[in-house]
């Protein structure tokens, strides 16, 4: 497949302020590399355009970061290379356009998104990187996972939740529907402590979900002390990493360590979550019950008056406006417990993106490398 050269490849090239731009950071990372990265003297992912070589280069970069002899800082260095200060998200937009026009296969988009997840990019960087791919129907679901599943970095869980709710509606009736329902329910249960969402998580058929999503659901069930949740987490993590091990040998050891930390203190995790659930504004439910009961009241005080419409008093509207919503259920007053649950959720989501990235890369590998 061929696509036209990107418009920024004109003299001077955005990364040609240096004599030789970095395409692959050296290992171990030396001060020279760090300086080059901070000055933008590097070629970002798909910086040379949407081409087969670029897709291979991205895989090579990820492979190098996860190689057995790689420097521990190499992943952070590579994460910087996702975007370029002079180009911003233009390479990704260019790639998305190429995929949409048929000049590039969807697998290249998957490779790019996989790199962002695998490298452990933060929420905002990952969102910025993935946002450009949202208009591309072939990779939209994966781009939405990249962009919308997060929130721990800047405590934007309510916004993330709103985005997942919208995505769930968008994918209703498609084969992605169950996965997005599971993702939404995970946020609702873990962060808003809503038990109805736990029922949804239990009803989800794990075998029908992508491995990373099934792993996330299992992590949610781990919080309530579900039998076998830990074993399922290990099983789905192995499944997600299956295809990527040949190109990223260190990924298993890194993720094993992160996974072990997540499940290290089951009693403490469960207790923190329950403390948050207990600290919620349970009285708010009463206002909803009172007002819905009021609307079903039909006995009027006399036949001489016409029937009242469903409009409430201003006081009732204001009282109802105070209740409900993800924010109220998430931002509970028990700060200590909330902060620990938020932190745990952030760690879980970081691992989720690594697993999701690994699984995407694994599926695109054959197509790109052959």
């Amino acid at each position: 497949m061929t696509s036209p050269p990107p418009p920024w490849l004109v003299d001077p090239l955005p990364w040609h302020a240096a004599a030789s731009p970095i395409e692959i950071p050296r290992a171990p990372v030396d001060p020279e590399t760090e300086s080059a990265l901070s000055h933008g003297w590097y070629v970002p992912l798909f910086g040379w355009g949407a081409s087969d070589d670029e897709a291979r280069r991205v895989i090579a970069l990820v492979s190098r970061a996860y190689s057995t002899e790689a420097d521990p800082g190499s992943m952070d260095c590579l994460a910087i290379m996702l975007l370029h200060p002079a180009l911003g998200t233009r390479p990704m937009s260019f790639l998305a356009d190429a995929i949409q026009s048929g000049a590039a296969p969807a697998a290249w988009g998957k490779v790019a998104l996989a790199a962002a997840g695998l490298l452990g990019a933060g929420d905002s960087l990952r969102a910025e990187f993935g946002e450009a791919m949202l208009d591309c129907p072939a990779v939209r679901a994966n781009a939405l996972r990249t962009v919308a599943v997060g929130g721990a970095e800047r405590y934007t869980f309510p916004e993330t939740f709103a985005r997942l709710c919208a995505a769930e509606k968008e994918f209703a009736g498609t084969r992605e529907a169950e996965a997005f329902t599971a993702l939404r329910a995970w946020f609702e249960f873990v962060l808003a402590r809503r038990w109805s969402a736990l029922d949804t998580l239990r009803e989800v058929r794990l075998e029908s979900l992508p491995a990373a999503d099934a792993w996330l659901v299992s992590a949610g069930l781990f919080l309530v002390g579900d039998d076998g949740a830990k074993a399922r987490m290990t099983e789905y993590a192995s499944l997600a990493l299956e295809g990527v091990q040949p190109v990223a040998p260190r990924v298993v050891s890194i993720l094993s360590r992160e996974l072990a930390e997540l499940v290290a203190q089951p009693w403490a995790r469960r207790w923190d979550h329950l403390r948050c659930a207990a600290a919620k504004d349970h009285a708010a439910a009463a206002v909803r019950a009172w007002l819905s009961a009021a609307l079903y009241e039909t006995h009027e005080e006399g036949a001489e008056h016409e029937t009242l419409g469903p409009e409430m008093t201003k006081a009732a509207k204001e009282a109802r406006a105070l209740v409900g919503g993800f924010l109220l259920d998430w931002f509970v007053q028990d700060r200590e417990a909330r902060s620990r649950v938020d932190h745990w959720a952030g760690d879980v989501l970081r691992v989720y993106h690594r697993l999701h990235g690994a699984s995407m890369l694994g599926s695109a590998l054959d197509e790109v490398v052959g």
Binding site: W271, L274, H282, A289, A315
Partner: protein
């Protein structure tokens, strides 16, 4: 006779002839006379001119004049009392409750221990949702005048809905006949509706509501919002239910039903407690103990009860203010004692 005395006479004349509003011609004459007196530099006249305009329906103009008066004579309580009074007589009383509160707090600090100011402040704070402050002010008003039926009405409402004290329902139910003897309008029956309903006397509550709104013409457009507002509040009162939240049979409904978050959180905590007991030494005691779980259960219930009383008061007391105060403003002229607090009475010794 001075222009100010003429204005006072006109004001009292228009109040004596009050019929769902001041007598139009007389209140206009009153405003003109107050304007003439204000030109002579009398601060009371400036307040009177604004009040006359407010009673004639020009709330915005009255407010502007009163704010000018407070800027010019910041140490006189009259203008602040007038701002509070007119705000509580405005059609959208909840929107103006905060303004009424600050004005009446200022008036109280300039003229302490005045019963009608304390009582009006109680009403303003209740409409604003500051129930504890409102209860204090209503009690202060009752300490000054134990027969103040309006202060008793608001104090009982807050005891009932904010304090969860059902004995206040009896006071509410028994208050109107006494208040009517003192010349109050039928609007006072609305408080008794809350009393009867809280006691579970549903028929009496409906009959009492009819007494409260019966004076208004059926289908008359200008009065329809008042009637509908009272009926809406009554509908929400029925949805709220009799008695006090989280007591007796109300408990499960109040917390949102058997599948509610409250019930399920309690169940999850109980399961966790059992798990700790069964696990023996496996549950790390430095992380959680049975006592910790029991304490969380107790705290959750206490918080839920307190929260429900807050929400109940927010729904019922503010809803009452929304329905009751415009009815009072329509049916009753401003009380003479409030006019006296503004200096709008003739002191003839």
């Amino acid at each position: 006779m001075s222009a100010f005395d003429d204005a006072i006479d006109a004001l009292h004349e228009s109040i004596d002839g009050w019929n769902r509003g001041a007598v139009p011609g007389t209140i206009s004459r009153c405003a003109v006379c107050f304007d003439a007196a204000a030109r002579e530099g009398d601060p009371r006249a400036a307040v009177g001119a604004a009040v006359a305009r407010g009673l004639a329906g020009d709330h915005e103009g009255a407010r502007r004049r009163l704010l000018e008066a407070t800027a010019r004579w910041p140490d006189a309580a009259g203008a602040y009392v007038a701002i509070g009074m007119l705000a509580l007589r405005s059609p959208d009383v909840l929107a103006h409750a905060a303004e009424a509160s600050w004005a009446l707090i200022a008036a109280r600090s300039l003229a302490p221990s005045v019963g009608c100011i304390e009582r009006s402040l109680a009403v303003a704070l209740a409409a604003q949702g500051e129930f504890m402050g409102a209860l204090h002010c209503a009690r202060a008003a009752l300490a000054i005048d134990p027969d103040d039926e309006e202060a008793r009405l608001w104090s009982s409402l807050m005891r009932l809905y904010f304090g969860g004290d059902v004995s206040a329902a009896t006071v509410l139910a028994e208050l109107p006949p006494e208040a009517l003897l003192r010349g109050r309008s039928t609007a006072v029956w609305l408080g008794a509706v809350a009393g009867f309903y809280a006691r579970g006397e549903f028929h009496e509550a409906r009959v009492t509501l009819r007494k409260a709104i019966g004076v208004f013409k059926q289908g008359a457009t200008p009065e329809k919002p008042l009637v509908d507002s009272a009926r809406r509040w009554f509908r929400e009162l029925r949805g709220f239910g009799a008695g006090v939240p989280m007591t007796g049979e109300r408990w499960v409904r109040d917390v949102g039903g058997a599948q509610s978050e409250y019930v399920r959180t309690r169940a999850a905590l109980s399961t966790f407690r059992d798990a700790i007991v069964q696990s023996g030494a496996r549950a790390p005691s430095d992380v959680v103990t049975v006592l910790d779980v029991d304490s969380a259960l107790g705290a959750m219930e206490a918080r839920a009860r307190r929260g429900m009383l807050e929400y109940g008061a927010r729904l019922m007391v503010r809803g009452f203010a929304e329905a009751y105060l415009p009815m009072v403003a329509c049916l009753e002229p401003p009380p003479l004692e409030l006019l006296a607090a503004m200096g709008l009475v003739r002191l003839d010794g």
